[in-house]
Symmetry: C2
Subunit: 187 residues, 2 copies
DNA sequence: TGTACATCAGTGAACGCGCGTTCACTGATGTAC
DNA sequence: TGTACATCAGTGAACGCGCGTTCACTGATGTAC
């Protein structure tokens, strides 16, 4: 039973080292100090491992966001954005596993989001709604604003990763924050 | 010489049929009615073909946009957005080749965009600047607004493709247009 | 006009590789009586 | 307490596949004299 977790963690490491396309069960097994075939004892096949990997990576991301305790809306957004960019640029394969890989059931907009099954987006939307009440955030459906913000960030990151930007990390981060401000802020 | 273009077109077809990861020179050759090895007469290797494919797909997209003649800003945005969504959802691999694959030199922000080397974004920014003069578009750097719009669209499309949305094509399109409106419009 | 030669697009067989997965197995651990 | 058996995690060899790429080649076309 423990081996399952070892395999999962080693698969995450291997994912970061090799990238999503290049991930092989052989390499995962080797990293876990186990025969490639041992993986089949814990996962149905490669696709199953990949899905589990996506869930695992997403959990880690959620845990990371939960550590961000800022009360102020803008400093919270700033911190989450920076964490997101760090994840995307420093651990691209992990990022892909969490956000790009096709999801299994769950976390589908709108139903699962309205039901609060996506903690990060849920928290974001709640903070936006609060900001609207206090006159800080432009009117509009708070959940949709959260989705737009998420999409913009992912879009900018995608463009960055395909080599479209010649910007320093800090300039890129600032640009992302300006993009979010344009979507969120009142003035 | 003609064969090069035949190969390129067949590679695009094969790209749509097989997807970006699964594209093989053998399949491309077969589709072009030629030995896989003939490809090497026209392209240095697979990576070279892939790059040429990206350029080719991008050219097709630019030609598509140039056909959109609407004078009115909002109907132009509407038409381009719909064309972009169609491309992304109906020809995902082609879309990937044009927008996701790592670019070769050229079309890098900000220098190449300011120099007008990206016709679509350039035209978009010019229309936005015009809209600002006429009081239709919220203030801000027009080129950056164009980039934000592009990123948002790509982000929403990415989320859609990874199965995050349970929306009809039309509802999804409307959502995209609302997202752009939020970034662009004055009120 | 005819001959000899160079160029070059395309061929087809083969190499070596890494992959996911199958299969029959080993050997340790837990359970029943 | 001891024996017999079932369970089950992990092994290791092997299969079959598709891939990018190499290599020596063929045969048509163009060029020089």
């Amino acid at each position: 039973m423990n081996t399952r977790i070892v395999i999962l963690n080693c698969a995450l490491d291997e994912l970061q080292a090799a990238g999503l396309d290049k991930l092989s069960l052989r390499a995962v097994g080797k990293r876990a100090g186990v025969t490639p075939m041992a993986v089949y004892r814990h996962f149905q096949d490669k696709a199953d491992l990949l899905h589990a990997l996506g869930d695992h990576a997403l959990s880690q991301w959620q845990a990371r966001v939960e550590q961000i305790q800022d009360v102020d809306l803008h400093s919270w957004i700033d911190a989450v954005t920076r964490a997101f960019i760090d994840l995307a640029l420093d651990s691209p394969a992990l990022f892909d596993a969490a956000f790009v890989l096709k999801t299994r059931a769950g976390r589908i907009y709108p139903q699962d989001f309205k039901g609060g099954r996506s903690p990060v987006i849920g928290a974001f939307a709640a903070r936006l709604a609060d900001g609207q009440r206090r006159g800080l955030v432009r009117e509009g459906d708070a959940l949709e604003i959260a989705i737009f913000s998420w999409a913009t960030l992912q879009g900018l990151i995608g463009l960055h990763r395909s080599g479209r930007f010649n910007l320093s990390r800090e300039d890129f981060t600032d640009m992302c924050l300006r993009g979010l401000a344009r979507i969120i802020n009142k003035d």
